[in-house]
């Protein structure tokens, strides 16, 4: 299933099969990737950063920036049984999701362990789009077994998606001519005409959702591959005076940590890809209990989750404010300063440039949440290794949650 872009690799290339796939925005993104800093995501060549990760991060916080989310998995789930099927699979109540709304949710194994998290878009009474970070087709098919009026299509390669984040993102979209974008509420979807369809008001190939993974004001733009580069060009033209800039995985990781969002492979292992028991996670451990709706009579993992809620999970994911300025990457956590009694570990950590704090997400044994938490931090100064033990303070709220993220229309910036 080579994408069109792949066809651009010369046929004579003996390594064509081994090369990573290129996203629909690759021709533009490659030009801007000054450092050729690529990593991989779902088989796609994917920017780690373009020039300077921290600069890109500040574009998200200070202006606007794009993040190529083509490699994200996208599935169309449609048919008369679609709602029932999804509602049984996920722990939130999908029946409450209105047309042109998006919701963040997770789904679990029978044992209540998290398979993955993602978002569901309701695009019609019987039509949904599910997006998630890693391939989920096998689980979706398994979940779909027994439902006859249902189709699941893997659209991952067939939709170009661009995340557009930052305080000036709304303004830029307005400049691009997306009328009424400022009245789009968080988690809402709106469709716009684009490209050739200008004359035909009913043809609205550009879908915009007010969603993102940065904890800031932001949108995600969805369009068919043929219009991908046009979209990029239009957006970059409109954003020229607003400092538009692409950002990569590194900056995303910074922004999402400040917002307190979890990342697969960092905060949690997908249950079906976990060899060792107890190395996977339940939504309660990850602080996602709010995604579990026990008012629903049945959904996958309900019994096990109910049990876990009552017994409390062994670990709980928490946000930590840590003394000093050395990021507590991979630190172990203790209940005492002498590091005798281990109670957890840090999953992601960084120095937050906007809030000027040393922040982290960490897994802490639930029964020790009330007491002291100390982190043993290893750090390097000019190749000499040091360690120190510092106090951690629990944080309830995300480290970064500006009002503009949720305000409609977005506050001027």
């Amino acid at each position: 299933m080579n994408t069109d872009n792949n066809a651009k690799v010369p046929a004579a290339d003996p390594f064509a099969d081994e090369r990573l796939k290129r996203t629909h925005f690759y021709p533009r993104a490659a030009q801007l990737n000054i450092r050729d800093a690529w990593s991989a995501w779902n088989g796609y060549k994917f920017a780690d950063y373009y020039y300077d990760a921290e600069y890109e991060y500040f574009c998200v916080r200070n202006g606007c920036a794009t993040y190529d989310i083509c490699p994200m998995q996208k599935y169309f789930i449609s048919g008369a049984d679609a709602e029932t099927m999804l509602n049984r699979m996920v722990s939130r109540d999908i029946t409450k999701l209105n047309l042109n709304r998006v919701t963040y949710l997770c789904w679990c194994t029978d044992a209540g362990r998290m398979v993955d998290d993602g978002t569901v878009f309701r695009l019609g009474a019987d039509k949904f789009m599910l997006t998630c970070g890693s391939p989920s087709l096998a689980w979706l098919r398994k979940s779909a077994f027994g439902f006859n009026k249902l189709s699941i299509i893997d659209m991952s390669d067939e939709i170009a998606a661009l995340s557009f984040q930052g305080p000036t993102s709304c303004e830029v979209l307005k400049q691009m001519g997306l009328e009424g974008i400022d009245s789009l509420k968080p988690f809402n979807i709106i469709h716009f005409p684009f490209g050739d369809s200008g004359g035909n008001r009913d043809d609205k190939p550009l879908m915009v959702s007010r969603t993102g993974f940065t904890g800031d004001l932001g949108y995600e733009l969805w369009i068919k591959p043929e219009l991908a580069l046009d979209l990029w060009d239009a957006l970059y033209a409109a954003g020229e005076n607003y400092g538009i800039q692409p950002f990569g995985e590194a900056a995303t990781n910074m922004a999402r940590l400040e917002a307190g969002f979890i990342m697969p492979g960092m905060e949690f292992n997908e249950a079906l890809k976990t060899i060792h028991f107890q190395h996977d996670h339940s939504p309660f451990e990850l602080g996602l209990g709010w995604l579990v709706d026990f008012k629903k009579p049945h959904f996958n993992g309900r019994k096990a989750l109910l049990k876990e809620r009552d017994a409390r999970p062994e670990y709980t994911l928490v946000k930590l404010d840590i003394e000093g300025n050395k990021p507590a990457e991979e630190s172990h956590l203790y209940s005492d300063k002498r590091c005798n009694h281990e109670i957890g570990y840090v999953t992601s950590a960084m120095w937050s440039p906007v809030v000027k704090a040393n922040i982290a997400l960490a897994m802490v044994k639930t029964k020790y949440l009330q007491g002291d938490i100390w982190a043993e931090i290893y750090y390097v100064k000019e190749l000499r290794h040091y360690s120190k033990t510092v106090r951690c303070t629990l944080q309830d709220k995300p480290f970064w949650a500006p009002a503009r993220t949720r305000a409609t229309p977005p506050l001027a910036y």
Binding site: T84, M85, K142, H298, N300, K303
Partner: protein
């Protein structure tokens, strides 16, 4: 609207047994049967005017305890039964004949060494049969269940194995997983004898003599009971057993409704979760009950009657992937007279057509690819010899289980395909009973697909699912449903798809009732 304590779906023998046990304890029980006859695969039906037959043509290990508990003798079932000889047919009339029961069976047509080996072999197996026997009528505990009674069951099994002694225990753990072929080769020389003895480990399943891991366990399962693996036909026929079960059921107050096909099992959900509330018949009528017990196969029960939206995903997948494609076809012949098998005075016995284990193996090979063998192997009885009312006077019925006939035939089971197979089977029988073709008044061949349709068994599988290690004991049909209760409160299983399994045995019905009454 009527309200019952328990509704049981399916009036096969397990449904009848479960219903009776519950009713005897004072429950109001409604037993619903989709077809017009009782007994499921044991139901006797007229396949030609004046000629009758049942898919299950003999009785072998029907539980003595069930017969006693339900007082079946008083209801007309004559137990104990007279065992039939088992005959390995040879075209030249040099048959191998086993008569009698278990260790004491007499065997003719083989060398003195084989006869002696047989006794040794049978004694060894008998010790294993006795080891396992108590567990067929127990509820197998869930792994991880730390209740005293559950641990006791495991401890008991462990202890009993230890008590076999060093030698036998070691042998048991080796033999349990051995392919039938190796077990036979280790013990006997006569090819025909090997084929005959391996037959009971293989029939009904998707296994051949070379297939490891389940046939010996199946053999031991079938050797349980008073007949020690021998087969019999009660003088009143299989009919009399079904009739006795029905009579026992109604006598204890079970309400039986035939022609009542269940469309779905009613499940109600609220913030406390799901709960079974009754059933809805195909005609839309709803009947409420505190619990519903299904004796129909697990796939039909869960995937059709319950519906996947009420089940968990991995559980659904485990039910979906249950291996339950049938590989046995049924042949019924209405005969003008008693068939004459070369070298047999009277065809009174269970006659097996399989000259050697390779014949079974190669017949199986075709079925693997969705075909059937041109040299089918089969088990034949003439039930009308023992149960006279199956045919008009002087006339007879021949009944055969034909292996290996796939559920899914390449190209589909068309009329022509069925007729071609029927002809092939008759030709094969004629090798051993040369005059038979002239005696045939009517022939009927039921493929696994026909059995599925007429008896509402998914895949047409006798046992509602292969008797293979991963689908046995506390894994039958799958964990979370192996103790007769299911993930949905108020829904139980009591059919052959549950432990201990299929065959006219009664274990699942008995065990399920005990579980429900707990």
């Amino acid at each position: 609207m009527q309200h019952y304590d328990t509704i049981i779906i399916g009036a096969g023998h397990n449904g009848l047994i479960c219903a009776t046990y519950l009713a005897k304890k004072g429950q109001r029980v409604l037993l619903l049967e989709a077809s017009e006859t009782l007994g499921g695969l044991a139901a006797t039906r007229e396949f030609h005017p004046g000629f009758k037959a049942a898919v299950a043509h003999t009785v072998s290990h029907f539980s003595a305890k069930v017969a006693r508990d339900l007082n079946l003798t008083a209801h007309g079932f004559d137990s104990p039964m007279v065992p039939m000889p088992t005959v390995g047919l040879n075209a030249a009339g040099e048959h191998v004949v086993l008569t009698g029961i278990g260790v004491d069976a007499e065997i003719i047509g083989v060398s003195a060494e084989d006869a002696a080996s047989y006794r040794q072999y049978r004694q060894l197996l008998q010790r294993f049969v006795e080891l396992l026997e108590p567990f067929w009528l127990k509820t197998m505990p869930r792994v991880g269940d730390t209740r005293w009674s559950s641990l006791l069951t495991f401890a008991q099994l462990g202890l009993k194995m230890r008590l076999l002694g060093k030698q036998d225990m070691g042998e048991f753990m080796r033999l349990a997983m051995l392919p039938a072929r190796d077990l036979m080769d280790e013990n006997f020389d006569s090819e025909l004898l090997k084929a005959v003895l391996s037959w009971d480990g293989l029939i009904g399943s998707k296994m051949a003599p070379r297939s490891p891991n389940a046939s010996v366990l199946t053999l031991l399962y079938r050797m349980s009971g008073e007949l020690g693996g021998a087969h019999a036909i009660p003088s009143g026929g299989i009919e009399s057993l079904v009739q006795a079960l029905y009579s026992a059921a109604t006598a204890s107050g079970v309400e039986v409704k035939i022609g009542a096909r269940v469309g779905r099992i009613l499940i109600q959900g609220n913030s406390d979760g799901l709960k079974t509330t009754g059933v809805e018949l195909a005609d839309g009528e709803q009947i409420n009950a505190a619990r519903v017990v299904s004796s129909t196969d697990p796939q039909r029960t869960f995937l059709e009657l319950v519906g996947v939206e009420n089940l968990e995903i991995e559980f659904t997948n485990r039910i979906r992937r249950l291996r339950c494609d049938g590989y046995v076809a049924k042949l019924h012949l209405a005969l003008d007279g008693l068939p004459n098998f070369t070298g047999l005075a009277k065809p009174d016995g269970r006659m097996i057509i399989a000259v050697d284990m390779d014949a079974i193996e190669f017949a199986f090979d075709d079925a693997k690819y969705g075909g059937y063998s041109q040299q089918p192997v089969m088990e034949i009885v003439v039930p009308s010899l023992r149960h006279e009312s199956l045919a008009p006077e002087g006339k007879h019925v021949l009944s055969a289980h034909v292996m290996y006939v796939p559920y899914k035939l390449k190209g589909g089971w068309t009329e022509d395909a069925r007729a071609a197979l029927c002809q092939r089977v008759i030709d094969t029988v004629a090798v051993y009973a040369p005059q038979i073709k002239a005696q045939i008044l009517h022939s009927e061949l039921l493929t696994p697909q026909d059995l599925e349709q007429t008896h509402q068994v998914t895949g047409g599988h006798w046992h509602h699912g292969e008797l293979s290690v991963d689908q046995m004991l506390m894994m039958r049909p799958t964990y979370e449903a192996a103790q007769y209760s299911t993930p949905i409160p108020g829904l139980y299983l009591c059919g052959a798809g549950s432990h201990p399994g299929g065959g006219l045995m009664g274990g699942p019905g008995h065990n399920a009732a005990r579980k429900i009454l707990e």
